[in-house]
């Protein structure tokens, strides 16, 4: 089973996202900020990371930059999932090494579409 790390400082968002992603047949691990997420990745590199932008301690952008410098850190598909919904943030995220970008509010269809887009899921 593929694994997904769900990174968001909101417990409610993590719970909603986790439910959607588990229904896509992923095993989920949660982290409340970028630093916790980096620890989780060092323990076990996930197949996918769903990543909030604004979080305490370490934000999503710093996390993805740090992740890409880790050994095997180029492997996870990183999908931002944030209220930062403007072109400048999107291009900055892509430059930093993100693979996809979900603009909140999101739903199951969008997550599924983005996971297919990046090859995490086969198109139905």
């Amino acid at each position: 089973m593929k694994t997904c790390l769900v990174v968001d400082d909101s417990r409610v968002i993590r719970k909603v996202a986790r439910k959607i992603i588990e229904e896509l047949d992923f095993e989920c691990v949660e982290a409340a900020d970028g630093s916790e997420a980096l620890d989780a990745c060092r323990k076990q590199m996930p197949d996918a990371v769903l990543l909030d932008w604004n979080m305490p301690v370490m934000n999503g952008l710093d996390f993805v930059k740090a992740l890409r410098r880790e050994e095997a850190g180029d492997q996870p598909v990183v999908v931002f999932c944030t209220t930062e919904n403007d072109m400048a943030h999107i291009t900055e995220a892509l430059r930093a090494g993100a693979d996809e970008y979900v603009m909140k509010p999101f739903d199951g269809d969008i997550i599924e579409s983005k996971f297919q887009q990046t090859g995490l899921l086969r198109a139905s």
């Binding site: 072109m87 999107i90 291009t91 892509l94 969008i110 887009q117 198109a123």
Partner: protein
Amino acid sequence: MIKQDDITFVAAEAFKRSGLVLSADKGYLLESRLAPLARAEGFPSIDALLTAARRDQGDRLLWAITEALATHETFFFRDNTPFDLFKNDILPVLTRARGAGSTIRIWCAACSSGQEPYSLAMLLEEERARLGGKRFEIIATDMAPRVLEKAEAGVYSQFEVQRGLAIQRLVQHFEQNGDQWRIKPNIRQMVNFQKHNLLEPIASLGTFDVVFCRNVLIYFDPETKKQVLSRIARQTPNDGYLIMGAAETVVGLSKDFVPVEGKRGLYVRSEAGSGRTTRAA
């Protein structure tokens, strides 16, 4: 609840106008589609809307009802496979087969709010270097003015641009305007939108090298399906292509097209079949 004779009335009028087949058990669909229309037209109920529609001499309301009953669901790069087929199987063959300076014409039948033709336009733009300088023309038609208006504007909600569209394509081909996203002018101008009803002749639209007619015929009865396919065949050269939805088939409806083996949803003219790896299923 909508009364049975109202369902029968609406079904007959919608069929006459659009070929849309509405079975008697679709009362729930009628309610969910007509309630917003009744509100928008200023009627207190669906009942009042239908009473007015029966009296309406100019049949404007009956067209509005027909439009409301049609399914306009669509999204960018829907189902992926047809776009892969277009890029990998159709484009290389057509660009080789057509002479320098010729225009390759593509028709999106029942294009709804434009996501399908714009997806093709984005692909053509991305493939430009490999297209040998050929010109392309995308004609996109729908019978519903409301969705065509949206298509022509090329403006989509945040929700719409997140279904099927890779983020790199959003960045490359769209401009942001508040919480709306507008397709860039270079993509917009590749598509020519026209109002057209599939029950009507298509000769005036010209001939097409590729026809996308996906998830449309499923709403028609067999006789209408046959007529539409036969008209498409008359407007397609012998080396032209037809692409239908994954759950659709021409088998039993048209002898003009045959499926391409191993390429789901892709059809070629049967006259061209002998020289290719095709076989009627």
